[in-house]
Symmetry: C2
Subunit: 382 residues, 2 copies
């Protein structure tokens, strides 16, 4: 049972750990047993039986779609993927060495200028904006990746799933069924995860009754941080570093631990056992390894995992195995966080719709620890 | 004395009211007596004796500058005001009816692409970025206002104070001393105010170790909300509506109250008496009225204030009188919130520097109130 605070009482919690800031019907995490539920459904069931588009509908509407609702959503997503010319101009003018999350942040902010409903606060308009954002963020990521490589951006096919059209725009050729399905499961797994820092940032912004683009732009900025969405990039760097060194994974990890270096992809503020998403992704890495006949990444990962559990009692989180999946799909390392955003946009927008249903400003307090009562000394005598 | 929470205990507070999320040395608010202190100095003293640039130094360094430190900061600000051509292109490509805060959000995000230190997390680089942001945000606001009106953007003079060069770029002519000084005091008054929603959003974003541009872009998105920075726009609309109606201010207010309409610019979650900034701004409105010989706005405002205090026990906040000051300075109503941002950028960046000194992820929890254990029904049977 939670203690309810009242305004005369003051509670202090650095980082707000242990403080419940709001109610949600979107997801439930049991960190002790390693369970993740989206709106009533276990993540393992969703990963096995539903598409990313079904999950998007689930998060926005609180229930799974029927056939006609799903096909309606799919066709709306397909028809909304094209970017306005100014967005492509912004991406073309962005230096090729820009951080892809910074490029995504700027372009997503600019999407608002070409959405006639950007400032419409109605639920109906916000649902339409959620669909537009979910449709266009993949186009931004793929277009930026192409133009920074000196290639022409590819227009969306306007066909197939989000996973299909994204991989098509990114690579210039239609993905195979296995790649599309694997990527679709990754999108399902990253769609929603309670009050993580980016979702919380989005809700703080939205609680001022600002608009959906403002909140999502802020969330992208938060996800960009190495302690949040940037973690799987660090995981991949470590795996590549290990591979290049030719060393034994166990010794490599022990060495890092002895030097007090952090191994990314392990441990989580919420999960005290294995993240259920990590288990699903681990099986995917194993399947992809079998198919390709190259088990190197999988074997290295398993040995790192076993060493970390034995030495530190830490379990892999979602970032640890998603890095390998994306690598095997041939995706550039610095796109892992933007890809996280193209999935999490569904959870962010669902949280915004939930916030605005019963809005309240989110405003904690700070405790002042500085001086008081100072007198201003004229500048000549400072 | 604050209660310290530990991880086994769970505390619930919707909107985080009454919860202390962190320590700060930047500002102290005593809402009971109506006191606001920046890093030890009373806001009334600062408004009377220091410039905006001195306050910026105070917030970034925790002490007032001496003469050479101030002149160094002033000259760095002057030399950093010019915008990269792409930023001007982005502003030119932004539709003229775009929300100016949305335009500021996009352009500020894009500044990162032309800052070679954007991803440098060192304190020294972040201090330089704070100066660049403080120098360039005024240029963005003035340039957008001109291009949306079909006029050419004016390059900064690279002379004088932030207030001087901003009014010059906005109007195309150098401001008089009275206008510059009045505007400078407004910048001092809006520079910092504890953990308001935009500052809090910035700190949540920065706590993932994301970069300064990401955090500031998120803060701009939060400030855009009508419950936060957008409030003085609503105040001005009300004043203009009252003026156009030709009605008696007291009756106008009583009428609105009877219809349960909210009168913006009154009451504050923190201040239970008159906001000290409101008192300073009220005197400025009175002075400007004397000078211009037009007391209309002042008289209307005073009557609204008296009615609200008598009828609702509510006091004016900073937004109530800043609206009239900006109106008398000839600034368009929809620029009031961007102007708030060009001042608050100093407080935001000071909070980011403080956050990164001793970083900790800011991650409260949500309480799940939805269903559990649902079984997925095949789509044909939904």
């Amino acid at each position: 049972m939670a203690t309810q605070t009242n305004s005369t009482e003051k509670v202090k919690s650095r980082g707000l750990e242990g403080v419940v800031a709001l109610d949600t019907e979107l997801s439930f995490i049991d960190g002790q047993v390693g369970e993740l539920v989206y709106a009533g459904y276990d993540i393992r069931d969703l990963a096995k039986h539903t598409s990313f588009e079904e999950v998007a509908f689930l998060l926005w509407h609180g229930r799974l779609p029927n056939k006609s609702e799903l096909s309606d959503l799919e066709s709306r997503l397909r028809s909304e993927r094209t970017l306005a010319p100014m967005i492509l101009d912004v991406l073309a003018a962005t230096p090729e060495d820009a951080n892809p999350m910074a490029a995504l942040r700027t372009a997503t902010s600019a999407l608002a200028h070409f959405d006639g409903e950007a400032e419409d606060p109605s639920r109906e308009a916000n649902l339409r904006k959620a669909i537009r954002l979910t449709a266009r963020i993949p186009s931004i990521i793929a277009s930026f990746d192409r133009v920074r490589k000196g290639k022409a951006a590819i227009s969306p096919k306007g066909e197939g799933s989000t996973a299909f059209d994204f991989l098509y725009m990114l690579n210039g050729e239609e993905p195979g069924e296995a790649a599309e399905n694997t990527f679709d499961v990754c999108l399902v797994l990253h769609a929603e995860h309670g009050l993580n820092a980016s979702t919380f940032a989005a809700r703080v912004i939205s609680a001022t009754l600002s608009d959906m683009y403002s909140a999502v732009t802020g969330a992208i900025g938060a996800l960009k941080g190495p302690l949040h969405g940037g973690a799987n990039i660090e995981v991949m760097k470590t795996l590549l570093q290990l591979d290049a060194s030719g060393r034994n994974p166990r010794e490599f990890v022990l060495d890092k631990l002895q030097r007090k270096e952090r191994i990314m992809g392990f441990g989580h503020r919420v999960y005290k056992t294995m993240d259920p998403r990590a288990a699903i992704l681990r099986d995917m890495v194993e399947d992809l390894s079998e198919e390709s006949g190259n088990r190197k990444l999988y074997d290295m990962s398993m040995e790192i995992m076993e060493t970390m559990e034995k030495e530190k009692g830490l379990y892999p989180n979602v970032d640890f195995f998603s890095a390998s999946v994306y690598n095997m799909l041939g995706i550039d390392t610095d796109l892992y966080t933007p890809i996280f955003a193209m999935s999490r946009i569904t959870g962010w927008t669902a949280h915004l719709l939930e916030q605005w249903k019963d809005n309240r400003l989110i405003r904690p307090r700070a405790e002042y620890t500085g001086p008081k009562g100072l007198q201003i000394v004229p500048i000549e005598r400072r």
